[in-house]
Symmetry: C2
Amino acid sequence: MAKQNIFYAQSGGVTAVINATACGLIEAARAHKKSFGKVLVGRNGILGALHEELIDTTLESKAQIRALYHTPAGAFGSCRYKLKGLSEHKAEYERLLEVFAAHNIGYFMYNGGGDSQDTTHKVAQMSQLMGYPLTCIGIPKTVDNDLPITDNCPGFGSVAKYVAVSIREAGLDVASMAATSTKVFIMEVMGRHAGWIAAAGGLAADQEGQAPHIILFPEIALNEKAFLEKVDKCVKKYGYCAIVVSEGVKNSAGEFIASAGLKDAFGHTQLGGVAPVIAQLVKSKLGYKYHWAVCDYLQRAARHIASKTDVEQAYALGHKAIEFALEGKSGIMATIVRKAGKQYRWSIGTTPLETVANQEKCLPKHFIRADGFGITEACRDYLTPLIVGEDYPPYKNGLPQYVTLKNELVPKKLKTKFQEKR
Amino acid sequence: MAKQNIFYAQSGGVTAVINATACGLIEAARAHKKSFGKVLVGRNGILGALHEELIDTTLESKAQIRALYHTPAGAFGSCRYKLKGLSEHKAEYERLLEVFAAHNIGYFMYNGGGDSQDTTHKVAQMSQLMGYPLTCIGIPKTVDNDLPITDNCPGFGSVAKYVAVSIREAGLDVASMAATSTKVFIMEVMGRHAGWIAAAGGLAADQEGQAPHIILFPEIALNEKAFLEKVDKCVKKYGYCAIVVSEGVKNSAGEFIASAGLKDAFGHTQLGGVAPVIAQLVKSKLGYKYHWAVCDYLQRAARHIASKTDVEQAYALGHKAIEFALEGKSGIMATIVRKAGKQYRWSIGTTPLETVANQEKCLPKHFIRADGFGITEACRDYLTPLIVGEDYPPYKNGLPQYVTLKNELVPKKLKTKFQEKR
């Protein structure tokens, strides 16, 4: 059979290491030129396939592709666009396969979270239904670390490291100033539904009394009274209190605190920002001077402090996806497997797509301390290896040198245009 | 004359490199054991002197002192406590000299910003008035970079690097997502009165179209119309818009936007946070999806991404303070001097304390672009060398290893207690 091209796309929120996955995939495909044609990448994720906007990676030099290894965010553009069910939106799937057929694409490799793995699964089903042979391989990615089966998700380890480093550093700052100034510091992190990122903040505290003293998880409704008592006790005991709060923390009525609290000058509810709400609560009930930070995109883009383990896993997943295709595997997602034993070791495995599509893995109960405000030793044991190692990007004039690709599209072959359904 | 002890203290907001100054000072004093007694450090800054809480640094090992080089924040505690004028609060100055006399202190070395240099100056005057011989040397420190005479202030270069790196990384993130998601990103940075930190964000944009596209300075009242037009134009041209905003930006009425904008659910004005106010403005007037981050303490504590130039200068200032004392200099502040020539070279100089006390150096006009939303080439030329070089701390289990000192106090010798006047 003639060599076929590979379609690859990045989907959903980007990470510090998703380009390392692209690097691994493209380098592996180039190393197997006898088996594969070009790697064509969707411009802005799956939209690139629907609009027939396919980036020709063969026009990028070896050095440019290598530089993806240390470049954060999505070098080809990503998107938030979910393909609906097969029955409602059959036209979208048909369009995908039409584009794939026109460009001799025999491999569909989709790099994303739970929604994206659902898409990969549906594309796999559709290609079988329509008799279009397509090798479908999902590659995990999500800072939220909420995919099942895989031991962890690439992108998470680097956010975890950023969050733990940041609260350790800011904690020292507050400790220095607490005698006459700020006594309570609140740092808001991502994780709307799962508390993995907030939990990672807990790694900063090696010893009793170190920052963070309190973690607020989305899995646990905020108990105002218990929280305020803990803040007060902490300030009295250690002189200050450092708090990590997940953006997804809810009140006892089940509402997001971020949107329940603040109104702007016109009376509109302000979206986002749970840290200022918690700060105001502390100030109004306990009177302590506070400061707060909201990490937002900085945390997931922070390639400068990426976890070496995370970068290596992200790269390996892309590389292995090509090897799995060579082995004839399809309808699977690549996974990170934690090997048994005291020393942390990992390998890349596989799982059928239907086991991961549209699933969400929250922080298990035994990872959260009984009082609900911290992590357990089991959680620490799970998290620690994921942030180990540094992998610094190259610098010039004091700034990290990240690559911008040419991103030239292959000429369109279809006469028809695709209309997005929003 | 018998050897005398050195009093050293850290004052005001701490930085990623103020401990490097302490390291330089203590190492230099230890290298000159024939000339100096102990280095005694004020616990929580000048309050330590007033309360006779003096940390005995001779109890710290060589390795512990060396580790200060890579440890952020104030290892001995800092404070926000300003000594008032000589005439109103003579008792405070008398108390200081009483403590110094009791502990055989012949050197007063004070590490801080404009207010602290004013204190150093007043202590110098008072010691002369009272006939107590005291060598007084100020050592600069402030992330705000707003001290006069010195070319730049230690602490600033590392914040500048953090801000430039962060907006570069977050800018790539937004660019990846802009096709279907966030189009405007706002990052809030420190600098209540001077726009140096905000300006540093501008270093991230090497080329036309790169983040940040807009900088809002405290020196320039926000022109809402011009700002919104620029945001809109930027989104239309580049697909997204990345903004760095100083916490100190004001509206045309001269009020801080951070406190003029938001009210909480109880109608109280919310303190701090200009980024969400700007975000809301963009959303309500232009309708673009936004994200925002507030760096707060993370930026000034971020030793993990400190500027090597900054760390080296901070260390040299501490080291040189001891040499200046050996040379018999007093009533001076150590300064960073930029040497002439294309290649960046610096040395440590001195300036009389009266030239720096209570002064504030804002961003000069020719450093701000004519449209008020960016920096000029002159500004870039000034800023670039200050962020050059990386100086990574050591890591263990994925986290930077920062030192915690013993901080044992020397026994008190005075029977009297000091009462703070607030």
